[in-house]
Amino acid sequence: MARQIPKPDEEVSPDRWEAQLRKGALEMAALACLWQGRLYGLEIIRLLESQSNLVVAEGTVYPILNRLKEDGLLASEWVEAEAGHPRKYYALTAAGRRRLRQMAEAWENFAGGMMRLLKPVLAKAEVRR
């Protein structure tokens, strides 16, 4: 009961701002996972975990996939697996690919500017350590 939300490598629980930031980025990250081809939910979660530390609770990924599908950015299909039960695979739609590309460009712009701005802040933190 104590660990309802696993926190991989942080001592401090993320505050509201950080939680919002993660949540906002998670949609783009989930879309990005599918750039190379279709995956099912757990594969997307594992990819997110290994490539980024965006996932806080695994459950949050599924509602996001659901919403992206309703927005027409993802398509899904149930595929009978060897495992004995079907899995729900997600793939980018044409609109999803377009949107992801737009998002990636906007993100690059945004992150680049932000990093320039934060450079002195981060440098100071390093010195203090």
Partner: protein
Amino acid sequence: MTDGREIENYLSELRRHLGPMTLDDREEIVREIQAHIRDAAEQNGASADDVLARLGPASELAAEYREGLLIRQASRSFSPLTLLRGALRAATKGVAGTMAFLAGLIGYTTGVGFVLGALLKPFFPDKVGVFVQQTHSASETVGATVASITANGPRHELLGLWAIPLFLVLGSLTLLATTVLIRSVLRESRQWQLRLQPH
């Protein structure tokens, strides 16, 4: 098997909290989460406890599925009540939602007013219509009134029975425009969330 029992409990809890969705949508969600639990347990050899803990509480998971559901459903509806409810929810998220809600209130009231006027015209021909009224300063004021109470003063009605089709057309147009407006704002509000940089 206590593991199976635990998973069953989790899934029925999830089902219960998903609430007002179509049965198909709900069962599809439960089926997907069920597949996740099975896969996660098999691939990592994790206990059901662990897998469920990493998913987060069923009630929170359901809440995230429901988030924005009202707005999304409303954006596909034509019912004024549903649309206004959706707009009210959208109003908690931004100025556009607030404007849509207010515009909706005004639009629906005006539209219904016109239609009511058209319906009442045959019964109260002197009280419903577009009036030109003589005031003290001799200037003229024109106003469309439904059951005007300021009955004194010389005034005359401009439209006669033409008020009925005119009011019906104006009323329908107002109602239609209001519906289209709220729907497009609700639809847009989701698009804004998807954009990274607000302009």
